[in-house]
Subunit: 402 residues, 2 copies
């Protein structure tokens, strides 16, 4: 990451947020109370998230996406990879345009002025040998053929937007479905993103179904390659690290979400040592602060090993920009950047040798003053051009869904 | 913590930062590069910190303290407990006024407008059976008698400032010295703060010297009571948790520093379950964001247990305010408060049921608009009345010491 200083300002490349579920911004702070049973976990959180997902109209999805994207821009993020899995009406029926909801999210990105890559998600089942879960009805596309047809339709609707293919997880799809859509993506030059090895229960289920761990399964069936990004990749063996490296695949870490959901630390030291690039995502949007994600990745490892300075700062900075673009199938974007105030209290006093680590380890959002996407200024002096209206509509939505 | 909403504004009690070493703001971001030997630890960090500590003139100490206190106010912190251990000239000689440096820190607090409790630190040795470390010469007060005389002099110099007694650690003081100054503090009604059980090496050294772990040793010798705060208390047994509880002692967690230094997680679940209050400190000031400290405490436990919602949000909020005042020997301060903008992107959409958890888990500093200390407004619309001058002098200091 190239940071250029002029006077009291530093120009930093726009940050690349590789993995977001924008609608989850709605449950921010609404799942943090301890339940009486004290059995709070990723899985109880997921139920709360599903409940909200099923309340949303297409317009609601537009408004919450705008809110999340606005906050990303305020945090110096200029590109978002939206891992989009809301496709159907709440009862599971298809909309007249099966991409209606994806198009509302793309419209939100355009209106807010953030660069988007739409990672169109395939989801077919609750899990191996599990009955259908009605709370997942909005996500379901039953066959690979239908998924491919819908994705092709989306590409026609959004000719200037990068589209990616996102098999949700080894849990949510049969292996053959994954293979088909990955071959389709590969033939079309689209990036492939997939949740993998986030929670121990997912590993166990995968072993039961396939007699293999998730990354192992994907490697064995030729699904990993340079266009593949494994999101999370937390509970992985050294052999699986080697498989990702051998395939030139990447990993997306989402540390502020992973700590919120109690997922565990991404073994970024082993991954980076093996040559696997690690990029970042704000995922659940419990917080939107990609610099905090980068420092939390390093800090999770320090807390695990009780040592300091585990990863190279340069790897973290590259993960915030270059590795993110690579994961999303984008070129470098020299006209996407943020201007930081070197007099901000969080950065003041850094010099040429420490500015990059100061941004990485200490910068607060108050330091982000101006943000440009494709040369267009979208944030000026810490404010977005449509901030008041976006916040007002979002608050109205929150009041309605309670 | 009582949060009052009026329109688009919320009034939050000022946050209480119980444990700070303000001068360490100078090494922010300057110790995060990985060393070629990859042996970075608390102890290599400490050497870097010592080197800077020995460069500072009394005026430098004033300027860096102002910078740290300014950032605290911007983050909604209205009280700081400054654990002050720089007493002597760099060669170890006493200044004409042995409290010269403490008085510069107190002056910085007064000029910036933050409430300060000066925790005057006693430091006598590098460790048991260790030769003197010349890099610690500024910290040393050889005898308990001299420490008490100096502390009495400071109390006369600062009649309106709360003073506390801070035996640095079981490593840095012989047991008898600790006992003497704690009895002195108790007789004078002063709070007692002490680093304890931050690093495994400290536990091992304590067992070698005393055949007891640090908290165990302090309990056995009657040093723990309701006025005692153990800073860190990370590597402690269940028996030691019980000893802190039985003595009605408290713990100060410093999670953004503890993660930076690779110390490990404070077992706040066990402490709070046993009735030990847990408050917060920004400690090394690598970041100054006490809300991030509170959420990091919870998140460290989630990452350790791979579960969610470990602590009650109410305990964390109380730790940010009431428990901090209790630890510092202060009454509640109803005229210390911060005004938050409920339209800030980090908080927008929270309602009566989620506002407290939104502040705790998601608020960014941009939400802190106005801050009042003892009824006096020190931050207005996110700016401090002397911000430009404080930052300018601090940057000048940084340029000089390099």
């Amino acid at each position: 990451m190239q940071i250029r200083v002029e006077g009291n300002r530093a120009r930093m490349p726009g940050l690349v947020n590789v993995h977001s579920h924008s609608f989850q911004r709605l449950i921010r702070a609404r799942t943090e109370h301890r339940s009486p049973a004290r059995e709070d976990s990723f899985w109880t959180w997921r139920n709360a998230m599903y409940r909200v997902a099923n309340l949303l109209t297409p317009e609601d999805i537009y408004h919450v996406a705008r809110m999340a994207f606005l906050e990303m821009l305020l945090a110096g993020i200029t590109t978002v990879g939206e891992f989009h899995y809301l496709h159907n009406a709440p009862d599971g029926s298809r909309y007249d345009d099966p991409n209606l909801l994806a198009l509302r999210v793309a419209q939100a990105a355009e209106d807010v002025g953030i660069r988007i890559v739409l990672l169109r998600t395939a989801y077919a089942r609750a899990g191996w040998n599990l009955p259908a879960n009605p709370l997942q009805a909005r996500f379901i596309t039953s066959t690979a053929e239908a998924f491919i047809a819908d994705t092709e339709a989306l590409r026609r609707s959004l000719p200037t937007v990068q589209i990616g293919v996102a098999p949700h997880s080894v849990r949510a799809l049969p292996l053959e479905y994954i293979r088909e859509i990955v071959l389709y993506a590969r033939a079309s030059g689209m990036p492939v993103h997939m949740h993998a090895a986030e929670q121990p229960a997912e590993i166990e289920a995968c072993i039961s179904e396939h007699e293999a761990r998730p990354i192992e399964l994907l490697a064995r069936h030729g699904i990993l390659d340079h266009s593949f990004t494994a999101v999370h990749a937390i509970h992985i063996t050294s052999e699986e690290v080697g498989m990702l490296a051998a395939a030139h695949a990447g990993v997306c870490a989402c540390p502020t979400t992973e700590r919120n959901l109690g997922d565990g630390p991404v073994p970024a030291d082993r991954l980076l040592d093996a040559g696997v690039p690690v990029c970042f995502g704000s995922d659940s949007n419990a917080q939107i602060d990609l610099l905090e994600d980068a420092r939390a990745l390093e800090y999770h490892l320090r807390m695990e090993k009780l040592r300091r300075a585990i990863l190279r700062p340069g790897s973290l900075l590259s993960g915030l920009t270059h590795a993110g673009q690579q994961s999303l199938g984008l070129a470098e974007q020299p006209n996407d950047y943020a201007i930081l105030d070197l007099n901000d209290a969080s950065l003041a006093g850094s010099d040429a040798g420490s500015l990059a680590t100061a941004i990485l380890f200490s910068a607060n959002r108050t330091a982000v003053r101006d943000v440009f996407v494709n040369g267009r200024q979208v944030i000026e002096s810490g404010r977005h051009f449509a901030q008041d209206e976006i916040v007002r509509e979002f608050r109205r939505l929150c009041s309605r869904i309670g």
